[in-house]
Amino acid sequence: MYSKDGESYFIVDAHVALWDARPENQRSIHGKQFIDCFYDYHRNLSPEGEVWSYEDYLYQGGERLMRDLFENGYVDHAVFQPAFLGEFYNNGFGQTEEASALAKAHPDKLTYNHNFDPRNGEVGLEQLRADAERFGLKGVKLYTAEWHGESRGWRLDDPWAYRYFEACRELGITNIHIHKGPTIRPLDRDAFDVADVDHVATDFTDLNFVVEHCGLPRLEDFCWIATQEPNVHAGLAVAMPFIHTRPRYFAQIIGELLYWVGEDRIQFSSDYALWTPKWLIERFVDFQIPEDMTEYAPVTTAQKKKILGLNAAKMYDIEVPTELRLPDADEPATGPRGADDIAERAADPTELAGV
């Protein structure tokens, strides 16, 4: 819970990890390259006082995670979204045992999502059933650029992926978090393309598809698909920290998402341990669209409350104190929000200043 200026915000951090990237767990040079890439993201986008040492960054441990999220970070509930990365790390990147044990010890605070890889075929399907039982899965985190032997990527609309989504439906795993990466087969096309999300969202309307990084670096493709599919949601992992170094870009991202996707389908996350939630939440509550960027409406307190926690709480059936709840917006299920008044608003030159 975070409170400021008489307003209280219920916080759900919808994308956190407990990873181990220490040298002894690195399986190849790619394990080092991967965590170095994360560390550069961290150094590049964090305020000076929030930068961790490289050693701390390699592995944070459960104790520090609990402190960073729940003692210092205002978070009421967090959802583990582990990446496997078995080709890069001996024991995987996300630490299944440690994270799931933490979630088991603190069910009121933590939800453990697991992952699957459709290239594991029948064996993987059996494993998914076992994992669903063992962890009580409500969601999964899928990384389409995962390396797997000769293959370095898969698509959500591959036939085998459909078998897994059918199993998810049957097992009550309703929340599918999607993380796009640089490799996919074939390499002929754009690996960050989200067209496959469009296909699965249409074919599995009873599943929620949360596209992490709100499709970045393809915000435009994501927005266009998400506006047409009522079960596609925007995850703000990696987008959040732009609020510090690139506040105008962040404003445009939020402005575009609110316009195309709407306030009920955007989820906050710190992407811990890429960043810590405390400063992101404080900044976001203070955030406003710059005055000269009038093509976007100001962000309301109710919208901030939904993004910071209420939307993810609804998706994960997390109990929210009655006084902090808000009704859904009176918006169409699909199509851009406020589309009807675009012409009217844009006709006013001040509305488009600073675009």
Binding site: H30, Q33, E150, P186, I253
Partner: protein, 280 residues
């Protein structure tokens, strides 16, 4: 960027010209995703000219930048240098990337895209290039039309579909749009409609506002990516800001802070006075 130039003293002037020509050739190589020359982005780590031998090292913002884009830029760089009449041996190497070994071996053997990526490649990267040529056009179009809206407050958004190239001011923004149109094969005449899809289709008045909004999301995305990638390169390779030119579109105060006040913008052509310091 590390500059290196070798040759006999008598050849100095010729060598400097050769170096300049090699750099100019590299400046024709674009990052298709960010729609900018690799020389402006700081992706050229070093360029060495030793008579007919040219060696280039490229660097990218992360080890995990998309391998298909990485390959495109590296192979385009090799092609551009090989096309110079005086080059006989061109070596292009991509540094510090997860696919460096694969891509560098492919480049050295002139294996082509399919030969380099084997089972991961189906046909070619033409569709990928086309996708980003279209996005670059969309963003350039949006910049022009939004500028027009600001300059002409009485203009109705839903009548933007009537604007032609002749209505645009003769400035760099319009020139950039015309270059992107040419890349798509769109007409370059004063009467040509500005707001069009990649194949030249115009929009009905009722669809114009939404078309502009879509174009805006593309422009926001490209500008945002361009600055994030530049910033990551500076974080990964301290000093690389010396090799980056300013990108005014989408720039924020932090970009000025990150750039040392004394740093010159990277020249498109290396001044000869500067080159002489590197002559041996």
């Amino acid at each position: 960027m590390v500059l290196a130039l070798r040759g006999t003293t008598a050849d100095t002037a010729t060598s400097a010209t050769a170096y300049t020509a090699a750099h100019a050739a590299l400046s024709t190589v674009f990052d298709p995703e960010l729609d900018e020359p690799i020389t402006d982005l700081g992706f050229v780590r070093s360029l060495a000219v030793d008579e007919a031998r040219v060696t280039v090292h490229l660097r990218l913002p992360t080890s995990f930048c998309s391998p298909n884009f990485a390959y495109l830029m590296a192979s385009d760089a090799k092609d551009a240098l090989t096309a110079l009449p005086w080059t006989e041996h061109v070596v292009v190497q991509l540094d510090d990337h997860h696919d460096s070994d694969l891509i560098n071996a492919g480049l050295a053997a002139d294996a082509g895209y399919r030969g380099t990526f084997r089972h991961e490649a189906e046909q070619d990267l033409d569709e990928l290039r086309e996708t980003f040529r279209r996005k670059a056009h969309t963003a350039a179009m949006e910049r022009c039309l939004t500028a027009l809206l600001r300059a002409q407050p009485d203009r109705q958004v839903d009548r933007l579909g009537e604007v032609t190239l002749g209505d645009l001011p003769d400035d760099e923004r319009t020139a950039a749009l015309r270059r992107r149109r040419a890349a798509l094969g769109l007409p370059d005449v004063r009467t040509a409609v500005v707001l069009v899809s990649h194949d030249g289709t115009t929009y009905a008045a009722a669809d114009v506002p939404l078309a502009l909004r879509r174009a805006r999301s593309t422009r926001v995305s490209i500008d945002g990516n361009a600055h994030f990638c530049r910033g990551l390169l500076r974080t990964r390779y301290p000093g690389s800001e010396q090799d980056q030119t300013e990108r005014p579109e989408g720039a924020e105060p932090a970009d000025a802070v990150l750039r040392p006040p004394t740093a010159p913008t990277a020249p498109t052509f290396i001044p000869l006075t500067q080159l002489k310091e590197h002559l041996s």
